[in-house]
Symmetry: D2
Subunit: 230 residues, 4 copies
């Protein structure tokens, strides 16, 4: 099961973002701004930037997470977000001793498929271990491992990209495992940067409507809200 730990981040992320943003429109220096901005000024600046979509200053704060217990299904999706840095456990250089894998709820132990799924994953892992013992390189043996196999990685993402990725990945249409991952990412950010954390939310909360073909019901569709104007 996915586990997310914030291992490092830009200190005072919200203040850093606000100070950078103010440099653009004032003649005060960034070093002075970072000291003098009151918490209220920081908060009000962030709100302004967010409602008008001026998000580039959010790039100045970044967050580094240790992510463990996600399937290779999900890590493959995750790394498609290119505005971030990833270092992932290599299946070429690390041979996996234990059978750690993800089970979707629809195939869980409570279902009739749970047992068969469990057996298949274990059988594949057994063959993987046998091939390793026979001298087949880990980078080849791993071809037989199921996509359910767990992986771990370190991910660094700046606040602008976190906002963007959460718009897509906290949407109920996203795949359940990546939703879980970003709910935990959000929780970690909220702990140290509550104003920013609250902005990690699905796209519809920012748009005021759902722009997917079908709405999950939380927000009306684009058609219902802006009609033919769009």
């Amino acid at each position: 099961m996915v586990h997310v730990t914030l291992i490092s981040y830009t200190p005072h992320p919200e203040r850093t973002i606000a100070a950078a943003a103010r440099v653009s429109t004032s003649s005060i220096s960034a070093t002075e701004l970072i000291e003098k901005l009151t918490p209220e000024a920081v908060d009000s600046l962030l709100t302004q930037l967010l409602t008008s979509g001026h998000l580039s200053p959010f790039e100045h704060a970044s967050f580094t997470f240790a992510i463990e217990g996600i399937s290779r299904v999900t890590s493959h999706q995750l790394v498609r977000h290119r505005m971030a840095s990833y270092t992932q456990q290599s299946q070429r250089y690390v041979s996996l001793k234990e059978v750690n894998y993800i089970t979707p709820a629809t195939i869980s132990a409570k279902t009739e498929w749970g047992g068969k799924y469990h057996d298949m994953v274990h059988a594949a892992h057994r063959l993987y271990r046998e091939m390793l013992n026979a001298g087949i390189p880990a980078e080849d043996a791993r071809y037989v491992l199921p996509q359910a196999t767990e992986t771990r990685l370190v991910m660094t993402m700046n606040a602008r990209e976190l906002i963007h990725v959460c718009e897509l990945r906290l949407c109920l249409r996203a795949q359940w495992e990546i939703v879980e991952l970003f709910e935990k990412v959000k929780a970690e950010v909220e702990r140290v940067a509550p104003r920013l954390g609250v902005e990690l939310k699905p796209k519809c909360y920012r748009l005021g409507y759902c722009d997917e073909a079908q709405s999950c019901g939380i927000f009306p569709t684009a058609k219902e809200v802006v009609g033919e104007r769009r």
Copy 2:
């Protein structure tokens, strides 16, 4: 087995790169340059840019490939190259009818492991199909599929990034399947842009030495060539 087709590319890629490069250092317009540059001038300009490492003009030519028959092992590695665009067949939206998968040479039919590997992949695929038939969504059933499962994608990469990626992925230390992929990418580029194609080569050919911990033997190591200077 990996199959690569160049489906589209910037027309006259080498001439486009050379014309762009000349804009930087001349007062002639790009439209004029593109018409007037002789093939010899194009060639000599590319050589100059390449030997001095001034590679940014190579970004102006891009290449779009249909890539088929690569494993999810390799597509996961591939998409880590972030300066490129990928559209990959979705295992959420497409349910796989046939059992298409990659077999590493070390596990091929000629080895004692070939049969066991074949059986395991087919068993996993059978369970996948059964779960689909029972109404489990494809996005969940695929967790049981092996990483050997074939995927397809469209990749667009500009010439600068092609040069960079081939430096890493045509190195004999790279994983065999991704080496095969980029050998075919190189062959496709060579067909339409021979001067550029020849530049798609491992890093050592550009450096003049191998900077990995151990050399494959084609080039001496950094230590042997530049010694303590580095």
Copy 3:
């Protein structure tokens, strides 16, 4: 005055985008798709992608422009768009013989400021030439040149980024010179890819409302349209 020429682009850009998009959700190969998609299918696919914000396939088509006659004011803004490739005429390596510069409408010859502006720019350019003649390097002499000085560059941008940049730069709040630049970029794209060209438009046309603090009047504000929902 800004002059934009499309010097190269991915052939059949709209068909390439549509074929790539279909690879994601079908089991037909990209090479087959590129041949078989009817113009109607291409059109309908692009519309679907655009209304639901699934824009990544638009990265597979890119456009290379020769841009001439823009001020250094505007080239400095332009290159802030990082998802693009630029090769710009160097003021280190090219010494400017002629006095080419941009005059804002508010300072044009028709105004009382026109003459003073004209004289100042010419005086600065004269000093620049004198310093060059005295052996001061062009890279230093240019410090005296006004920001109005014209520059030229080659820019390659993919269709996804063109859509994004036009959302910002065709907005009436953008600076007039960059608006002019992207109106010409749009006109060039429209010539060869009309379906795509029509999508190069300010953000409000996509959102259905204006999300800036004040609307220019074409669209109502976010508040008026989605109210407290947002």
Copy 4:
């Protein structure tokens, strides 16, 4: 004159990089690694990564600088480095009260050109102020300002990009003002991350030779070192 202040950075940058790198090749968790790595292990890991060119883990540490007192000549060059985040003082929204500008050494007060340069810059600035007073918008009046005019910005760059940019911009062929800028960036990084700071150096120090057309003399040319091998 350029002034650089490190206003924020990933705490324990070198340890963060080393821990991330180790995740790739070990089965220990990142959270554990970050606690247990000894300073010697961190140092030795960084050296290994650097000599073999495996630089991606360096992306996990980023640095935010307040940069003041650079000319628009140099900020225009600086923002061409796209793997970084910039928030720059706007000449549209901020009207410049004082005449702050950069003077190249070749045009300094000690030379015969110093006076003329000074007078021209002041004359341009005076006209700028007069136009502002007459109601011409700052975004238009600034066209007359010389490129020497000072600007300020906040820049965030990760350690991998810092290494890359310094390879180019600490080279003696780079423009003097941007060399000064990155010498100060290097000094700021060295203060808090000495092992990383020492790696901020021209490309030749990494290659073991100079790959430019002409060497400044510190290192022999590529031809002299690797000869026909390259």
